[in-house]
Symmetry: C2
Subunit: 212 residues, 2 copies
Amino acid sequence: MHHTYSSKLLEEAVEEFATLPGIGRKTALRLVLHLLKQEDRDVEHFGNTILRMKKEIMTCKECHNISDTEVCHICKDPYRDKKTICVVESIRDVMSVENTQQFMGVYHVLGGIISPMDGVGPADLTIESLEEKAKNGQCTEVILALSTTMEGDTTNFYIYRRLKDYPVTVSTLARGVAIGDDLEYADEVTLGRSILNRTSFEETFKHSKHGT
Amino acid sequence: MHHTYSSKLLEEAVEEFATLPGIGRKTALRLVLHLLKQEDRDVEHFGNTILRMKKEIMTCKECHNISDTEVCHICKDPYRDKKTICVVESIRDVMSVENTQQFMGVYHVLGGIISPMDGVGPADLTIESLEEKAKNGQCTEVILALSTTMEGDTTNFYIYRRLKDYPVTVSTLARGVAIGDDLEYADEVTLGRSILNRTSFEETFKHSKHGT
C-alpha cells in the first residue's frame, strides 16, 4: 500500500526501518510513530547507540566473534580451555552455546556455511585461520557445532578434510532426540540416527549426575 | 531467554531495539546483527535519519499533522478547500484518507480519541482549536472521520455538541466502514466511498436510535 507522507523526514525514517529484515512499511511506520512520541533524549540515545555500535564494534582477531576489544572476553578469559575450539556458523550460535553454560573452551566463528546455492564457498569463511590454529598446534580438539542441515554436513566434511592430517581430534555435536521431547514427535531421520548412535546408559547417566 | 553478549555495544543496541512496540529481544538481536553486516555509511544514514527526524519534525500549527514546515503542505496547498475539515484521530489516519485521493479539503488531527479507560479526556485532544475554527467561521463543514468504535462514537457526540451552535455542518463518514473496524485497516475503496457518501451527523444519530 502506498502512503502519502506529510513529512519527508518521516518518510525517510520509515524507508530506513523498512530495510530491516521482516519489517514491512506498515510496521516501519508504527515503529517510527512510536519513536516520535518518545522523549527527545531517548530517541537521541537510540540513534547514537546505532551509530556507536557500528563504528566501535570489532571482530575478535582470535575467534572472529564480535567484540568491544581486539581480543574478545572469551578468548581473553584465563579460565577457558584454549585447546578446545568450538566451530560455529555465526555469533548468534556463540550466544546459544554460551547459554548452555556447558562449554568451557573457546570458539571459532566461520561467518557462514558452505552453500553453493547462496554463492558461499569455503574461501568466504574463516576456514583458513582455523586450519592455521590446527597447524600451529594451538588446539587439540575441534568441535564442529554447525546446523544439522545438508549445508552443515557439507561444511563439516570440508573442514574435516582440511584438518585430518593435523594432530587434532575433530568431533561433532551428538545428534539425537531433543531432551524433553516426546518420541512420537521426533522426526524419523533423527530417531533412526539416535538409535544407531545409541550411547551406553551408564555413560548418559554419568553425565547427567554431573550436569543439571 | 537470557543471552550472553560478547559485546556491550551489541547488548545496548539490542536493548534499544527491544524498547520498540512488538519487537522482542530475539527480533531485536536479528535486526542489530543485520545492521552490523551492512555498509558503514548505510548504518550511519540509518542512525542519522532517526536523529534528524526527531529533531526536525514539527506539528503543523493549523491541523496538528506532522510536518517538515510550520504549516504542512496540505494546509498550504492553494487547491485544497480550507472550508471543509476532516477530523481524524491520528496522523496515520490522515495518510489513510489521503490514499483514497477522494478528499480535497483539509484535516484536523485530534491526537487521540476520548477514552476514559485509557485516561484520555476531551482536554487531551485538540478539540479546543477545532471549536475555534468553527467559531471564527474558518470552515463550513466538519467531517468526523473517527473509528467506528464506542470511543469513536463518544468522541463524535462530544465534538458534535461542542460545534452544533456554530454555523457549520457536522457530518460523519458513511457507514461503509465496517462497524468495529479501525480506520487504518479499512480498504481504500470502502474508505473513499464512505467519504463521498458522508451523511449529516443528525441523520446518522436518527438511524442509530432505531438500532444499528
